[in-house]
């Protein structure tokens, strides 16, 4: 129906019975819906970033991130930026109905996204091991008593805003990778997702926070299964473009988190 509306020539067909009006925004409904969702989601991140900025300015803010953390975060940023480029290529391939290259470019995007999540997970694990933690986190074996322990107890807003912002973003990236996996591989992605969840659950030690965080994949598996069961369609160029909008938004949010959270807290 949205397609029919877009292809309709409002001048030539004016007054004919049964024809559609041209859409107000010149875009199909799925795209407008995704833009509205992204606008609302940007306010969620906006509120978190405002809270962080306020704390950063008005609190005696620690600057504990050394060279390793900054290099790691810079590589993560490069991964996300590169994933946006491969996503654009996927949209182009979908628009010229090249199914094979659409799938390949989306898979490349997923690889970059997964690399981002793995690097971020390693960074979290390292920081928690060095003492940056929240009350609800499991205590890791051999956890050190260092600079980050003082930061956690002295300025609790640091750990709260760091883990709050980055966890929210990491969740979005994870949802994005699952979303792209469903668009690219459809039902064939479900066993892969299930295997990743099981592998993560059994291989990640119980004292690591991701031993519990990995259950996000199980939730994703259930939601993706329901969606694919209710509407087992072959995803077209519009679906690829809409999924791309979500992915670019995830990239965009990181463009604010990276400088504010990491670069504003570098060790002098």
């Amino acid at each position: 129906m949205a397609d029919a509306a877009l292809q309709h020539n409002p001048v030539a067909g004016h007054g004919s019975a049964g024809e559609f009006e041209a859409p107000l925004f010149g875009a199909y409904s799925k795209k407008v819906g995704m833009w509205l969702f992204l606008a609302s989601d940007s306010l969620t991140f906006g509120a978190l970033l405002f809270a962080f900025s306020y704390n950063r300015i008005y609190t005696a803010w620690p600057t504990p991130f050394g060279k390793d953390s900054i290099i790691n975060a810079t590589v993560m940023t490069a991964c996300l930026l590169s994933s946006s480029l491969t996503m654009v290529m996927a949209v182009f391939a979908a628009q010229r109905h090249d199914r094979s290259w659409t799938r390949n470019w989306i898979l490349a995007t997923m690889v970059f996204g997964t690399a981002f999540i793995v690097l971020h997970g390693m960074e979290w694990t390292k920081l928690i091991h060095e003492g940056l933690t929240l009350p609800g986190f499991p205590k890791s074996a051999g956890q050190m008593e260092g600079e980050f322990t003082k930061v956690s107890s002295g300025v609790p807003q640091f750990a709260a805003t760091f883990f709050g912002l980055t966890a929210m973003h990491m969740l979005h990236v994870t949802i994005g990778v699952i979303y792209l996996g469903v668009v690219a591989l459809r039902k064939w992605f479900l066993p892969i997702l299930g295997a990743l969840w099981l592998a993560g659950f059994f291989l990640i030690p119980a004292d690591n926070v991701f031993h519990y965080g990995i259950h996000a994949l199980l939730v994703g598996l259930i939601v993706a299964s329901v969606i694919l069961f209710l509407k087992p369609k072959d995803y077209d160029a519009q679906d690829v473009e809409v999924s791309g909008l979500y992915w670019h938004f995830v990239d965009l949010v990181w463009m604010f988190i990276f400088p504010l959270v990491y670069l504003m807290s570098t060790k002098v």
Partner: protein, 102 residues
């Protein structure tokens, strides 16, 4: 859906990607060397982030190629929300600091 033949070429997306990487490099140098004091640094980094996000929204998210009404409605509404958030959030947060937390 976008027309495949709209007037953008693939090359410009590589330029945008390169520009985003360069801007990221500039941010890293500024942040790591602590070139400015914190408030000024926050302002500079935010300006660079806004430029990067504008590039992503305009080119990667294709908003530049959408109809003007969609472009302006999205940009104006989200910007207005952020401005309102700013004027509500920071003065109130400052007030708590001035009065002290009892």
């Amino acid at each position: 859906m976008h027309d495949v033949a709209h007037d953008d070429s693939k090359g410009q997306y590589f330029w945008v990607w390169g520009a985003l990487l360069v801007l990221t490099g500039i941010e890293v140098v500024l942040g790591y060397r602590q070139v400015f004091e914190p408030v000024r640094m926050l302002e500079v980094l935010l300006v660079l982030s806004v430029i990067k996000s504008a590039l992503i929204i305009a080119y990667f998210m294709h908003l530049k190629f959408e109809k003007a009404i969609m472009r302006w409605m999205l940009v104006i509404s989200v910007t207005a929300c952020f401005i309102i958030m700013y004027f509500f959030f920071f003065p109130d947060a400052g007030r708590i600091l001035r009065l002290g937390v009892k």
